[in-house]
Amino acid sequence: MMYAVAAAGVVVTMLMVLVRALVGPSIYNRILAVNVFGTLSVMLIAIYGFVDGRPEFLDLAIVYALINFIGTIAVTKYVTFSDMGHGDDGDPAGDI
C-alpha cells in the first residue's frame, strides 16, 4: 500500500517535470527536465519492483541510470559544440 503512495508521488512529480519539458522555454530547460525525468523513472522502476515483489527490476533501473547520464551529457555536448567529437583544447573542465 505504501509503495503505491510512493509510486503516486513519483508519478505526480514526473507530470510536473513533463510540463517543464513541454513548455521549455529554452533547450536548456528541456534538457534539464528530461534529465530529471530520467532520474524519476529510475525511482519509479525501483519502487515498482517492490510493489510487484520482483526486485529484479532493479537491473533495469541501473541501466536507466547509466543511459540517462550518457544521454544528458551527449545532448549537452552536441548543443554546446554542434559536434560530438570535440576535443577539450587544454580546458581544465574537459570536453563536456
Binding site: 508521488g9 532520474t39 541501473i62 554546446t80
Partner: protein, 118 residues
C-alpha cells in the same frame, strides 16, 4: 526490530517523496534555468537518496540492497556532472541568470568569460 525497520523505511520513503514533490514544484515555479537547476538537484540528491535508503531498509541485507546502493552511487556521481555540463553549456550560449541589480549582471558576465569555451 522488524517494526522499527519498517517505520524507519517509511519515514525515509515519505521524506524522499516530499523532497521530490518540492523539487518538481520548484522546477515549475522558479524563474530561470539556473534556479531550476537547484530544484532539479533536490530530486537528484535528497529525493533519490532518501527513497533508495528507505527501500534498502525494506530489502534487508541482500543483493537487492547492493543494487540499490549501486544506483545511489551512480546517481550521486553522475547528477552533479550532468548539472555542471548543462550550466556550462547555458552560460556559454549567452543565457545569463535573471538578476536584480547591474552589479549582479556584471558578475554574471564575468562568470561567463571565466568559463568561456575556446
Amino acid at each position: 526490530m522488524d517494526a522499527v525497520l519498517d517505520a524507519l523505511s517509511w519515514i525515509f520513503i515519505v521524506g524522499g517523496i516530499v523532497f521530490s514533490l518540492i523539487g518538481g514544484y520548484g522546477l515549475l515555479k522558479l524563474k530561470d534555468v539556473y534556479a531550476r537547476l537547484h530544484a532539479a538537484s533536490l530530486i537528484d540528491t535528497l529525493g533519490v537518496g532518501l527513497i533508495m535508503t528507505g527501500l534498502m531498509f525494506q530489502a534487508g541485507l541482500t543483493l537487492v540492497t547492493a543494487k540499490l546502493a549501486l544506483i545511489l552511487v551512480f546517481i550521486f556521481f553522475t547528477s552533479p556532472t550532468a548539472t555542471f555540463a548543462l550550466a556550462r553549456a547555458a552560460i556559454n550560449h549567452d543565457v545569463l541568470p535573471e538578476v536584480d541589480t547591474p552589479e549582479e549582471r556584471a558578475m554574471a558576465h564575468e562568470t561567463k568569460t571565466d568559463t568561456g569555451v575556446a
